[in-house]
């Protein structure tokens, strides 16, 4: 089980790798699309990487509901 901080750090690494987001910018209140310029296809790559890293699958129909970094952290925390 990862803590919220560990999940945030892991997610920041994924965001940097997939979408070139500076890790310090990957804070919970940030919107993927509006603040971090992550498009819908990059969200899919993030979901794939989350599954590899945390063993948590984010199905396509859940992906649309994940708007912020905090939403993603909560989803991973709840489903890990």
């Amino acid at each position: 089980m990862s803590t919220r901080d560990e999940i945030q750090a892991g997610l920041a690494e994924i965001l940097e790798e997939v979408a070139g987001v500076t890790p310090a910018d990957a804070t919970p209140e940030k919107s993927f699309t509006d603040d971090l310029d992550v498009d819908s296809l990059s969200m899919v790559e993030i979901a794939t990487a989350v599954e590899d890293k945390f063993g948590v699958a984010i199905p396509d129909d859940e992906l649309g509901g994940i708007k912020t970094v905090g939403d993603a952290i909560s989803f991973i925390e709840k489903n890990q």
Binding site: S40, L41, V44, E45, D60
Partner: protein, 322 residues
Amino acid sequence: MTGLQTTTGSPAARISGFGSYRPRRRVTNDDLAATMDTSDDWIQSRVGIAERRWAGPDESLVDMSVAAGGKALAASGLDAADIDLVVLATTTPPTAIPGLAARIAHELGVPRPGAFDLNAGCAGWCYALSSAADAIRTGSARNALVIGGEKLTDHIDLTDRGTAVIFADGAGAAVVTGAETPGIGPVVWGSDGDLHAAIAIPEGERVMSMAGQSVYRWATTKLTATLAEAMDRAGVTPQDIDVFAPHQANLRIIELMAKRLGLPESTVIARDIVRSGNTSSASVPLALDALLESGEARSGDTALLLGYGAGLTFAGQVVVLP
């Protein structure tokens, strides 16, 4: 019960010539941005398309397929009379009956060949290539013409940026002939029918719909193994691949696949989508013909092919370029 005799054909099959037809009308991203909510930047960053070709009223699916098929025949050095199998891979026939392969053969002057249309989504041409190679090896045919032709603009909505910016028209073809040594490797094909609704023209409707995220996820996670198996079954490694020509669906998928396969820097990667858009089952032969014509790919090169799309279906194989 009487025992039946059977036939054996050529020891192997190879591609002996390519041909293609690109519609005259060039449509840029700026042209599309004038009529719908999109921009050159939006399109290029998501799918990698800069322009595409849209067929006019005098460029029907049959016209384009005949043109591509005729060029492939000329490139192969065979006469129309040498062809005894014509396969048209398409997802966009104007009507269900009749299939178009027989008429295309007739217009090319091919006398009474086996002729059928094949729908395996955007994987259709790779399915057809494999079927033709098998027919030649079993003795069902001596020389085959394998065409991928599409008029996808019949099935787009000019106000929907999800599909109108992506899909386009064109035809590509290859002649497949017998050979002493294999020029077409074993196919690795399959399907994931649980995702049948992900790319579809819903019953009774005209316009295509696509669940972009689902298809993107499927293509980038499931198909690397298909490509690896196709190389393995053909007895080659990523280091042997001179040309990588997957279906031209999305430049980001193409780049991700190339990265995950570990292809060497020297491998030429087909990026025909940049100027052709997604032409479904025409995309692989169109891309290969363009690379051969530009000299980026050469005769004798080893090429890794992959078709994938509606169904969902997929087919990968390694071939030697003519």
